[in-house]
């Protein structure tokens, strides 16, 4: 019986320990008001006197602002926005600093909340998606003045992205953050005794609903051997954005096996994405060219040959193709472009629908009427995130 009680205690402690992790949020500590700079060059005054000034103050591109540290803190601890004069955020100094708390929170109850905040000096408390101007729930540009907003409706099943900015130009610094849960008349101090009695909800430094974009695959040549050193682009555009205006969000380079992978923090709920490649033909090699020459003796034996071997685009394989390859290899300027506008690259991938690579790889007829990759370039997590690109390069065996 005694062991059973001990087991229950351990379970409770473990649960609590786990629960503590749900109060972590991100914090960015900044040094502000660089000595050699004034409001004319920083874009903000002693106190952040407007949302624009606050934006400038927490912007690392501002001339007077620099990063002290990016870290994670327990928002219910005194490192969080609480404790009044006991507030103890990570900071480089006691004056001319700014603290930005950022994370996600899911309230324990559904209903109308009230929030009030008071800091020294200015602050802004923001929750995204509620429709408030600049997402600001409470704010004060100055010091030691409570600002209150009531009837803030929150759903207990929703994770809300929040941000709270606090800055101190000079003198003392402090912070208080209080909330009133639905159907209650009293405010709870975040992390205080009341707050512990009526905890606000779960906190997170990362978006619990995020679906990070990942992708992987191979770039292989005509002989289905990986091509190393090829740059692969992960391109995104805003979710459900009409049209096709993807821009590069990340790049990777294939390894010796032609393998690439992306593990991003980009939220698939926010972005559509695609994988793009821009293979570059290497300098042709004598061994490859000799292989092609010997291949003339056996005749066209693969559909792939119509791209990689018919470099003068005559529809046949002959000694003139071989001569052209050698001149290309030598860098003869007359062969900067292959004769008859012969293509240098043809690509497809296992996503192409209908997939044509198996036929290209196995058959021996001319399939150059297939346009290859380009018409089917979209990938999405709904269909998977792995693919193999096949690249046929003129003058290259693989």
């Amino acid at each position: 019986m005694r062991y059973f009680k001990l087991l229950v205690l351990c379970f409770i402690l473990s649960f609590q320990a786990y629960g503590q992790s749900t109060t972590d949020v991100n914090v960015r500590s900044l040094k502000t008001h660089a000595n050699s700079c004034n409001s004319g060059c920083t874009g903000y005054s002693g106190n952040a006197n407007s949302h624009t000034e606050f934006d400038n103050m927490v912007d690392l591109n501002s001339q007077g602002t620099s990063l002290h540290v990016d870290t994670v803190v327990d928002i219910l601890s005194l490192q969080g926005p609480r404790g009044n004069t006991s507030w103890d955020p990570p900071r480089a100094r006691n004056e001319r600093f700014a603290i930005v708390y950022h994370g996600w929170v899911k309230p324990n109850k559904t209903g109308n909340y009230a929030f009030r905040t008071r800091t020294d000096d200015s602050h802004e408390f923001m929750i995204k998606g509620l429709g408030y101007t600049d997402d600001i729930v409470t704010k004060h540009y100055g010091w030691n003045t409570w600002n209150t907003r009531t009837n803030v409706y929150l759903d207990k099943n929703t994770w809300y992205e929040f941000e709270m900015r606090i800055q101190n130009f000079g003198g003392a610094f402090n912070a208080q953050f209080q909330y009133r849960i639905p159907n209650s008349n009293t405010y709870n101090q975040l992390g205080g005794s009341n707050g512990s009695s009526h905890p606000f909800g779960e906190w997170s430094a990362t978006d619990p609903t995020a679906d990070p974009i990942t992708a992987s695959g191979y770039i292989k040549g005509a002989e289905e051997q990986g091509i190393a050193g090829q740059v692969v682009y992960l391109k995104t555009q805003n979710k459900n954005q009409p049209g096709f205006s993807y821009t590069t969000a990340d790049t990777a380079t294939t390894d010796a096996n032609g393998y690439y992978s992306f593990n991003t923090s980009l939220n698939y709920n926010d972005y559509d994405f695609t994988i793009d490649i821009a293979p570059e033909p290497d300098i042709l090699t004598v061994s490859d060219i000799n292989w092609f020459q010997n291949r003339i003796l056996t005749g066209p034996v693969s559909s792939k040959d119509y791209w990689r071997m018919d470099v003068n685009n005559t529809g046949s394989f002959s000694v003139s193709d071989i001569y052209t390859m050698h001149q290309k290899r030598h860098g003869n300027s007359a062969f900067a472009n292959y004769p008859n506008s012969a293509p240098t690259l043809w690509t497809t991938n296992s996503w192409q629908n209908p997939t044509i690579w198996p036929a290209v790889a196995a058959d021996s007829d001319d399939k150059t009427q297939f346009s290859g990759y380009g018409a089917w370039s979209l990938f999405d997590l709904a269909n998977g995130n792995q693919t193999t690109f096949y690249v046929i390069r003129a003058g290259h065996k693989n």
Partner: protein
């Protein structure tokens, strides 16, 4: 007369060009690969492979950077050949040659791999085709080489596109290796026999002989043979048929001389034991003299029971010539001359003696 000589000279020049013009382009419309009219086979017993050269020529004015073509060969005679670049294009090592063989068809691709943009293949022998005999082959007909369409004949232009490569087949025939021989037929060491028809014969087994050709001796007694004949395979000999009419060599002087020998007025020399004994019976007697007188008196063209001519090898003749007695018992001579095998030799002297020609006029 001068004009006639000029025309004759032109005919000779044209004939020479016809003979030796088998390795040049037939026209200037395009570059050509060329098969010569004939290629000499190696002897089957030599252990060597036959080598045929494929030529290249181009008078079109277009630079040529590479060629491809195909040809066939007699794969019942030869094992698959080895193709090598034997050109003089100055390509050094800046070329790559590949070839393949299947069912008697050879495909060839040759390309310039260097960076000199002005490169152009030079005319001349470009490829050597080394053809080893099959182990089962001994002798027999060899089919000629021909260009085929198994690999379209192209040349690579300077702009990297195809051009039509001409194929000029002047025969591509294979002939047995040359056999050259000069037979000299003599009445004696200083008296050549003219207008003697000498036959060259060959035999694969030594029993059945076939005439190859016949040459009549010239004024110097020589019959010159130049034939395609593999003496490594064939047994070769000379033949002079019997029945020669040697009437022109006979005269009353011969009959008188025979009578003097028969009477013991003169002694017979070595050869006179044959020439003074036209009836080939006993020794030299009055009947021999009579036989000659009778033939002359009747304008006869032959003897009733004896040939006009007997043939001897040089060794036999020397023995007879140096003898002081009749050697006909051991060296009777041949009515129809069949020489020993002449394989491995290039010339030989053979002698004839005319029965009744005691004074050695001979056939001239």
């Amino acid at each position: 007369m001068k004009l006639k000589n000029i025309l004759l000279t032109l005919v000779l020049v044209m004939s020479s060009l016809t003979i030796f013009g088998q390795t040049t382009a037939p026209d200037a419309t395009k570059p050509y690969v060329i098969l010569d009219s004939a290629y000499a086979l190696e002897s089957v017993t030599s252990g060597n492979a036959t080598v045929a050269t494929i030529y290249y020529d181009n008078t079109s004015g277009n630079d040529v950077k590479g060629v491809q073509f195909s040809f066939n060969y007699d794969n019942t005679v030869f094992d698959p050949p080895v193709i090598a670049y034997g050109g003089t294009s100055g390509a050094g090592s800046d070329f790559y040659l590949s070839s393949s063989e299947a069912s008697g068809v050879v495909k060839v691709v040759w390309v310039y791999t260097g960076s000199t943009t002005s490169f152009d293949i030079a005319a001349g022998g470009m490829f050597t085709v080394t053809l080893p005999f099959k182990s089962s082959y001994t002798n027999g007909a060899v089919a000629d080489m021909d260009f085929t369409n198994n690999l379209t004949a192209y040349y690579a232009k300077a702009d990297g596109t195809d051009g039509a490569l001409g194929t000029s087949d002047n025969g591509g025939n294979f002939t047995e290796p040359a056999f050259n021989y000069t037979a000299t037929i003599l009445n004696n060491a200083t008296n050549p026999a003219e207008s003697i028809p000498v036959i060259l014969q060959k035999s694969s087994d030594g029993s059945t002989w076939t005439d190859v050709t016949s040459v009549t001796t010239a004024v110097d007694g020589t019959a010159v043979f130049s034939e395609s004949l593999d003496q490594g395979y064939w047994q070769i000999r000379l033949k002079i048929a019997s029945g020669l009419d040697a009437s022109t060599a006979l005269s009353t002087a011969d009959a008188n001389l025979i009578a003097q020998i028969a009477a013991g007025v003169q002694s017979a020399s070595g050869v006179q034991f044959y020439t003074a004994n036209p009836n080939q019976a006993n020794s030299v007697t009055a009947s021999d003299s009579y036989l000659v007188f009778a033939r002359l008196a009747t304008n006869g063209t032959s003897y009733a029971n004896n040939p006009d001519v007997l043939f001897f090898t040089e060794a036999q003749y020397n023995t007879i010539s140096n003898a002081t007695s009749d050697q006909s018992g051991s060296i009777p001579g041949l009515t129809e001359f069949l020489s020993p095998q002449i394989n491995g030799t290039t010339s030989g002297n053979f002698y004839l003696l005319i029965l009744g020609d005691a004074n050695g006029t001979g056939l001239n």
